[in-house]
Symmetry: C2
Subunit: 334 residues, 2 copies
């Protein structure tokens, strides 16, 4: 480890990626890139929790099928979600009969899952890992905020939890995209205590991880075609760029935020999308598509998480953030 960064010697490959989203996400600008869209966000299930579980399972199965494999060909499912005790991921793993490693790092979980999956493959311990995350607007609202029936108004700084699940199937070989390095994030607290302004809570963590990544790798932002944060949203992204700028790093031209990208302004989501499924559906659709096509050669994915619970907010705790960075490259620059 150099600083906080791991370099993968054998460059694990992205064998397949899969994304499945709800109707609101499918009505957004990234619609053409998603692999599957729900007509109704209950997915024909009796509860939104069961719907999210089916979403999560569908993303994993989708990636496995896209790779022409079967669940028995996957050594480990590394998964996580936002629900208490990550029941979505573990109940999904119950159906799939794949050894399971449960992760929680809020909306940064996807980054953490990729890091552990890539390291297990690169070290020669396993051949394939399904790295999966999900979120669901209605399960998140019920758990973190208010009953939907109450019709509570969103604050101007709040983000809309993405209904969707994404899975990246990593393996020793296959495909033209590799995982090149990764920076494990630290928990950073700038004292933000407004649970409706998670972009502000996560921006410092994202900036810190990106600066650390650049330092550890000796790169500057020009090295990457895109630096893609998870779900900072509109305001959080501005803060992120300002924080980088105050350290002399101008990333404005390279930066994209999955939360900002997934919804259109007309869709009335004040700051954009969020949730553990946000970065995984956007990466596995739009960005992976571009890397497969060769139009993006080097990408730094930085999923960002706000580490709060309903209880921690009620007890007056501030909201620490975390961000993990994973660097992808296409074959000829691997």
């Amino acid at each position: 480890m150099t600083g906080q960064t791991i370099f993968f010697k054998n460059k694990p490959r992205v064998i397949a990626g899969y994304s499945i989203v709800g109707p609101k996400e499918a009505a957004g600008p990234l619609d053409p890139y998603f692999h599957k869209r729900l007509r109704k966000d209950d997915f024909g299930q009796k509860s939104y929790e069961k719907a999210e579980c089916k979403l999560h399972m569908s993303a994993i199965s989708g990636a496995i099928i896209a790779a022409g494999l079967a669940p028995k060909d996957v050594d480990v499912n590394i998964g996580g979600d936002l629900l208490n005790q990550i029941i979505t991921s573990s109940f999904s793993a119950r159906e799939l009969d794949i050894p399971f490693v449960g992760m929680y790092s809020a909306c940064s979980t996807f980054g953490q899952a990729l890091i552990v999956g890539a390291a297990l493959i690169d070290g020669g311990y396993i051949s394939r890992a399904a790295c999966s995350t999900s979120s669901h607007f209605s399960t998140a609202e019920r758990q973190y905020r208010y009953p939907l029936e109450l019709g509570t108004q969103m604050t101007p700084t709040s983000q809309w939890t993405v209904t969707g699940a994404g899975c990246t199937l990593l393996g020793k070989e296959g495909g033209n995209v590799c995982v090149e390095s990764a920076t494990v994030g630290k928990v950073v607290d700038f004292g933000v205590s407004d649970a409706n302004n998670m972009g502000a809570a996560m921006a410092p963590a994202a900036a810190k991880t990106v600066l650390q990544h650049l330092k550890d790798t000796g790169r500057d932002v020009s090295y990457y075609d895109y630096i893609v944060t998870g779900d900072l949203g509109v305001y959080g992204s501005r803060l992120f760029l300002e924080l980088l700028q105050s350290d002399g790093v101008n990333a404005a031209e390279k930066h994209k935020d999955c939360g900002e990208m997934i919804f259109d302004k007309k869709q009335r989501c004040p700051q954009g999308g969020s949730g553990a499924g946000c970065s995984s559906v956007v990466f596995n659709s739009y960005f992976l598509h571009q890397m497969r096509a060769g139009s993006v050669k080097r990408l730094l994915l930085v999923p960002t998480g706000a580490l709060l619970s309903k209880l921690s907010s009620l007890q007056g705790e501030t909201i620490p953030g975390i961000a993990n960075a994973v660097s992808f490259a296409v074959e000829d620059v691997c």
Copy 2:
């Protein structure tokens, strides 16, 4: 990976272990082995959640200090706990300034943390990992069951959540105990739906993981001095042994359960202890002490988890279980 089992080529070492427990645990039979005991289970904090966080942090610091190191010498903290959104572990990581990987696998989290930590070290990605878990009786009761003030009676099959935190500091070298192999568990559901009988929910997962481990390694139970399950409790342990027996494996003489060991019958905990801190405090005290002293040479630690949430039980879901197995050996048999 052979079946579900990883073999560590370079045999990562247990550099140090640390355990800190509450007053009830300190009144139990393992008292002489614990590193620190609280006089009061609020640890001088304003809430039990803050107390658990301080416990978690103390376990990590304790292990680092015991190894004669500083937090900057530790590359990653891999931690988890039972609270929603694992706030204990992430708030503890906020104070420690060590890169953080958040885990959730209920009371099997400690096993999962050890597997990921050992693989990252063995693969040459990091030099040292602090693998930590915790639980607290009062935070768990508040979150999963009833307010303490209600004085609800425990059912005969229920277990008492251990107040305690344990941390194992793994590294490339140091100490006479190594991590030799590990079996990643699958999520197993035998249809148990009684949230007060978690031993029964976890026993099938424990049996399945142990059988898989023996198959993958070509060993029989006589290979190990102890097969140590996490927190099956009295009844769950009996089920575990019966399930193994039905597959022709007699583990009765080798089996110990951390949940059964931590409390005395006089302490009126119907089935013994449980919680993400249970296996970590017992392993890092009693068992690590014996391995250090050379009286135990080969040990298979099998932390067990019940994958439920309050919501999943209310929605009528059954309780799937999971168990991860980690094999430790002392130097001369590494």
